[in-house]
Amino acid sequence: MSLVGAKVLRKEDPRLLSGTGTYVDDLSPAQCAFASFVTSAEAHATIDAIDVRAALAIPGVLAVYTAADFTDYPDLPGGLPTLERPALARNTVRFVGEPVAVVVAEDRYIAADAVAAVTVSYSPLKVMTTIEDATAGDSVPLFPRHGSNVITIVPTMDDLEKELAKCHGRASLHIVNQRCAAVPIEPMAVLADWKPDGLTVWATFQAPHHLRNYLATWLDIPQMNCRVVAPDVGGGFGSKIVWYPELFIAPVISKLLRRPVKFAQTRTEAMMQMAHGRDQVHDIEVGYEKDGTIKALRLIVSQNLGAYGDPTGLGLAVLTTWMAAGAYRIPKVSTSFRTVVTNTTPVAAYRGAGRPEAAYSIERIVDQVARQTGLDPAVVRQRNFIPPSAFPYETHNEAVVYDSADFPAALAECLRIVDYDAVRAEQKARRNDPSKPLLGIGLSCWLEIAGFGPNGSLEGFGHLASWESAQVRIQPDGSAIVYSGSSPHGQGHETMLSQIASDELGISFDRIKVITGDTAAVLQGIGTMGSRGAPTAGSAVKVASSRVLTRAKRIAAHLLEAAEEDLEVVDDAFNVKGSPGKKVSWGDVAWASFQPLRIPPELQAGSLEERLFQESPNFSYPSGAYACVVEIDRETGDVTIRDMVLVDDCGTVINPLLAEGQVHGGVAQGIAQALYEGVSYDSSTGQPVTANLLDYLVPSAADLPDYKVGRTTTLCPNNPLGAKGIGESGSVGAPPAVINAIVDALSEFGVDHIDMPATPEKIWKAMKSGGNS
């Protein structure tokens, strides 16, 4: 029986359910000291003085360090020239929460006392938290050497004004894709232990080899002496592939104090220091014909980078503009973007990273075309879909060639599950019945770029390469260890990769162990992000396993004195087809594989091992059709999601249980963005007003609906598994479905658009003002 495609329970769960998982803060080596950061209380200021004397006087305080102690070390990696970020703020602070000094103490309580005892004097500078403020005439540059707060501009060659003007009609929207916080339930944590024979760093991180590569360079030590371990990682969602100061500072402190040093962020610190996501402003305009077909699309993107240019943050708008046209065949597409620094927490990847922003705008504008033409939103989508026969489909950007999809089938399945016509009929009936809540239905036929694996695709974000590694190693007893360079944080790699290896090797699932996240054990690796786990790491394990099996068959044939092609692997044994009883167990083959006297002469001892760096010729393009049905209280503007239908196409499904879990989680974050979440700042002072979980509304079980899941399948032709990835799908597809439903429900008030998060207050105001708020 094939395990790929089967609902297999997770290997990870027994330890995580019994409290025996190991997260970074669970580790507590002897003599471990605790670090805590003094952070900027100002959003933009010069540092006049730092007085650490009172802190040093506290019993149990070991040291206090400032930028002056790190002059031997370079700035943090990845910054653009003129936009350098030092590990600790030097002279200037640019956002509230930016680390200014670090204290080290015997425990976290004393460290907190010491942080409170450090006095920093500032001279405030002009605060700019929005793109508008940072680009206004009276703005001042955050980086005087750069001279402007606009960091990159990628203009369009043609603004398509001519094409747009020729169309029957034009539709445009000004769209704010608000800033969100990733909020993995485990905040950042790092433990560094510098010993004479080398450094070990345990970090809650999505890409341990990536960190190892940069950390060793930064510290100027050879990589062989720099081991990074990502143990159990409590969620990431993109926020744990960022060069945070603590990752670099902790090893230095450990070296100076000759003790292990740990830093474990509080949530309030995390809300200010972990990178945020989204924060784009779009101006989108399309030209359409009477029948709803869209002839031209123009998307102008502005990206708020926050205070520093994170390598991923700088690339978000690239991905957004790549995916601007979504699932639609639009003859002319024009995109442009600019990135702008502001006095806010830096922006980097958050689940979807640039693609939710693209999907949201195209799906909103398609609804606006439906509104203006009087056509049904489903019909407008059907009339504009790229047809299944048109794949591979070359888009407006040469880097982007959609692999495969069947958009009409996905939408049809979605409409069937949600019972679209019945909802429309009910909606019509309710229009004249003020005793009932407003009813709206929203669609989202989304598509995203994933499977980051093609050569060059991750190098642009600072990674070593874009392949993913696998190593399959048969033990002498016939059990197998699979090493993967893709280090997970909840995705279930131990289970998913075991399923793939089990199918390929013919070794039972329970006799396969997956090891990830330790640079001393895993040969090399890239990481887990961009929905690449199954397409890249999964494919690597598949290919490596099949190569091991080929050699194992040669040994088995040798032992059985049979022909290789006559062998089949069943139940951990090699059987000669048609000769019942003539077989040798996997364990016997494995044992023999280490004994030169028992293997074919052309093989060497230990040959049942394969290492592979799996490359991909193209990205993958997961897609789907979602529908959301909302009810809105006419008195309060409160939204209830009555139905949430999710039809996904992720190509080959390795484990439907895990795939569904990924969709649910992504959709929950998508609904959260649509209805609840948004990082905000006081624009005059730059103080964050959502710096804890009281003020930043992460939804609970009571706030979210049940999900109805459907599936269509078009295989990805670009990897051996046919898998497209599923980690980000929900967060890409859900926000437009929810907002389209709300705008649909509010249509009788003349409301064309409502910005996220669609709070009851915003909706209530929109109902009162007819959308002119």
């Binding site: 409290g19 803060d25 485990e186 159990d232 409590g234 879990g661 929950a668 979980l693 609970s700 079980a701």
Partner: protein, 162 residues
Amino acid sequence: MSTITRNVTVSMTINGQSITRTIDARTLLVHFIREHARLTGTHVGCDTSNCGACSIMIDGESAKSCTVLAVQADGCSITTIEGLSGPYNGMSAVQEGFRQCHGLQCGYCTPGMVMAATSLLNEIPDPSEEQIRSGLEGNLCRCTGYQMIVESVRWAVEHPAP
């Protein structure tokens, strides 16, 4: 700024084992459990008692151990995730329900979620979906979207320990 610390001696029973330590009086119960008793299954996910990753039971009642001082638990009987047991390879029906229904992904919120669910079933043995959702309102999960957690709790209801 000067700090005044006062050491106190506290005794409690955690998962049936008594423990006595002299600690800084301001030590939170969650840090007592994690750093003095060295039971690290109970996690810390926020500083405003919103997330519930630190959920435990004090004398059988559900509590968030980040909002309780260790001294307040002096003389109490504490149950943490490590203290649960049952017929499913040593795990309770709630724990097994989470495994069967994929009620966890990264696992960080899971111990608190399992403790809150266990406590919920002690109070309401056969909860509706709505009761489960409102009963777990004080525990945040960022991975699952909650539906599979609700199903996990229902699994436990439908598979009472023999």
